[in-house]
């Protein structure tokens, strides 16, 4: 079991992910919808993994939030996004200990990826 923060500005998508991860035996410690809130939640909850959307509410995006978080921790992150363009992929690759899933994503894909990352870490 792992403590996970979901960073997602679409409430329905966040809810679905929370439910699926909960059924898979994980604990969702926070659901936030902006990069700033994600940084605050990370500092507060000290999770084991971040499930991060890239396009978020506010000025910062998910990748920028991870750049800030990386200064403090090498926590694993799974980026979930509808942005599948080359530039976004390149930016994701610049973040260490990160993987990428493209929305809409299957439940089984998220759970498999979460389990894979947690076992690696």
């Amino acid at each position: 079991m792992a403590n996970i923060i979901i960073v997602e500005d679409e409430a329905i998508v966040a809810m679905e992910n929370k439910m699926n991860l909960h059924f898979a035996g994980h604990q969702i410690v926070a659901i936030v919808s902006s990069a700033e809130a994600a940084i605050d939640a990370f500092n507060l909850e000290k999770p084991d993994l971040l499930l991060m959307d890239i396009k978020l509410r506010g000025e910062m995006d998910g990748i920028e939030a991870m750049i800030v978080i990386r200064q403090k921790s090498n926590i694993p992150v799974i980026f979930l996004t509808g942005n599948s363009d080359a530039k976004t992929k390149q930016r994701v690759q610049s973040i260490s200990n990160a993987s990428y899933l493209q929305k809409p994503v299957l439940t089984v894909e998220i759970i498999d990826e979460v389990n894979k990352i947690l076992s690696n870490n």
Binding site: V13, M15, G82, N83, D85, P104, L106
Partner: protein, 530 residues
């Protein structure tokens, strides 16, 4: 005399007035006038010779009358160059023959004096070689006459009084001829020069008015050194100069804001060599340091045989601003369209999420499967919006890439890790718009899903083949499996499956023709116009 000159004008070709220049028109006119005077004089002498009862003189003069008349006819029909030469030649032969018969005492050879100067007024000085040749021929005729001593054996025998009268009339004729030549040279050519000067002044004024009132900046530039030797008022205004002298001897390339690149330099040279002109858009700087965009046009021209560049610069700054506004607007619309595709895709993700949430509250496993199938259909559409968002044109998707991505997604949905289905995809780079891509993607999703779910029960080495091709405007897609075989057409008739109903409805929407065969599995073909 004036009457004779007027008669001469009657034989003038109407086209002579439109001769290439005034001087040439004048020479053509003079040829006609001199030929008329010569014709009348020749007729006069013909009657004089008749009184001598000398058949040689009479007949020869008759021939020369015909020759002078022929000159008029030639001039009239437009052979002006030949008529001038023919007139001078007729003079020389006429005087030679009559001199030989009448003898030195008759002083016919004095007529060579005006005849010698005739080429000077009838021919262009550009034809100096011909003039010199004709003068030499005239001298040769005279020398020949003196060498032969005017052929005494041919000389007519007439009384002293008749000879005196003949001598008197030929001296008079020679003087009249000389008078005509001098008159033509002094008075007529002075007039021509004046007319030419006036014409040049007029042409210069016309050129100046066109050059200076042009809406574009115009320059005459040295071909090699590219130094400006002439600029118009608009150029002064456009480049914010004090006057046109500010441009003089300045290198035309120095007017540019940025130095010319080697590539453009070669392009200008190449264009002028091949097409004779070069066109480009260039950013210029003014004397006061301001900038403007100019449409540059360079053309090679020749003045006095020397090559120059005729340069035109049109101010297109406003046009460029509008172009930039249009481009900005277009970029904004592209961003907006990309955002819409992204939004649609996100909304589809939300719908998929809602179905996923709902499925968690459903106990019935069959119902859960139906939810999952619906989510896959949504995903097949969302994938198209993702591809549209990625594509530069935002209007079409690379269907080959789409098939590969869709297959990967379906594999995750329906094919467990313990089971292996081989996918064989053959599809060139085919671009489809959203109108065709969405139904086509949904059909593909249903066919692959059906094969995965139903076709491979107890089948060794299951395989699904997808082949797409586009010939002209016709798109064809074939999806086949090596499974147990399924009669899709009968399935259509029964229509008790949503998947088959969707395939049928979407095929009709595409206006496609559907065929199925059952050879070692099921083969589904659809073709439609794109």
């Amino acid at each position: 005399m004036s009457l004779l000159l007027q008669i001469g004008n009657f034989f003038l070709n109407p086209k002579a007035k439109a001769a290439k220049n005034i001087a040439e028109a004048k020479r053509i006119k003079l040829t006609s006038q001199i030929a008329t005077v010569s014709l009348v004089i020749a007729v006069f002498y013909h009657f004089v010779f008749l009184s001598f009862n000398d058949i040689r003189l009479t007949l020869s003069e008759l021939v020369f009358i015909f020759c002078y008349f022929l000159v008029l006819v030639l001039n009239f029909v437009g052979y002006s160059s030949f008529s001038k030469f023919f007139l001078i030649a007729t003079f020389y032969v006429n005087f030679f023959v009559i001199s030989a018969i009448c003898g030195e005492e008759a002083c016919v050879h004095l007529l060579y004096i005006p005849a010698l100067t005739a080429p000077l007024i009838l021919l262009d000085f550009a034809e100096i070689k011909l003039i010199v040749l004709l003068v030499i021929i005239a001298f040769l005729c005279l020398i020949t006459l003196y060498i032969l001593n005017f052929v005494p054996s041919l000389t007519i025998q007439i009384s002293a009084k008749q000879m005196y009268n003949l001598k008197f009339s030929f001296i008079l004729t020679s003087m009249v001829g000389q008078f005509i030549v001098i008159y033509s040279m002094i008075f007529k050519f002075t007039k021509t020069e004046k007319k030419l000067d006036m014409n040049n002044v007029m042409l210069e004024e016309q050129f100046k008015s066109i050059f200076d009132t042009s809406f574009d900046a115009l320059f005459i530039v040295e071909y090699k050194e590219r130094r400006i030797i002439k600029a118009n008022s608009r150029a002064v205004e456009l480049f914010e100069m004090e006057n046109e002298y500010d441009f003089y001897l300045q290198n035309g390339l120095d007017l540019r804001k940025e130095p010319i690149g080697k590539k453009e330099h070669l392009s200008i040279k190449g264009d002028i060599a091949v097409k004779g002109f070069h066109e480009n858009e260039v950013l210029y700087k003014t004397k006061k340091g301001n900038e403007f965009w100019g449409a540059l046009a360079i053309r090679l021209v020749f003045m006095n045989g020397m090559p120059y560049q005729s340069v035109r610069i049109t101010d297109i700054t406003d046009q460029k601003k509008i172009e930039k506004q249009i481009q900005t607007s277009l970029n904004e619309k592209e961003i907006l369209l990309a955002e819409i595709h992204h939004r649609v895709k996100n909304n589809l993700a939300v719908i998929s999420g809602l179905l996923g949430l709902q499925a968690n509250y459903v106990e019935d496993e069959k119902a859960k499967v139906l939810f999952e199938e619906s989510r896959n259909r949504i995903h097949s559409m969302a994938l198209i919006h993702d591809k549209l968002y990625q594509n530069e044109t935002l209007a079409t998707i690379n269907f080959s890439e789409y098939i590969h991505d869709l297959v990967e997604h379906i594999k995750k949905s329906y094919i467990p890790d313990t089971w292996s289905v081989k996918f064989n995809i053959t599809c060139n780079e085919i671009f489809l718009d959203i109108r065709n891509a969405v139904p086509c993607g949904l059909i593909l999703n249903e066919l692959i899903s059906n094969s995965c779910k139903h076709a491979f029960k107890d089948i060794q080495n299951p395989e699904i083949k997808i082949v797409c091709s586009k010939m002209g405007e016709k798109f064809t897609m074939m999806v086949s499996d090596n499974g147990i075989g399924f009669d899709i057409e009968n399935g259509f008739k029964r229509a008790n499956s949503l998947g088959l109903t969707l395939i049928q409805a979407l095929s009709e929407q595409l206006g496609g023709k559907v065929n199925t065969t059952f050879v070692n599995g099921t083969q589904f073909y659809i073709s439609f116009e794109v």
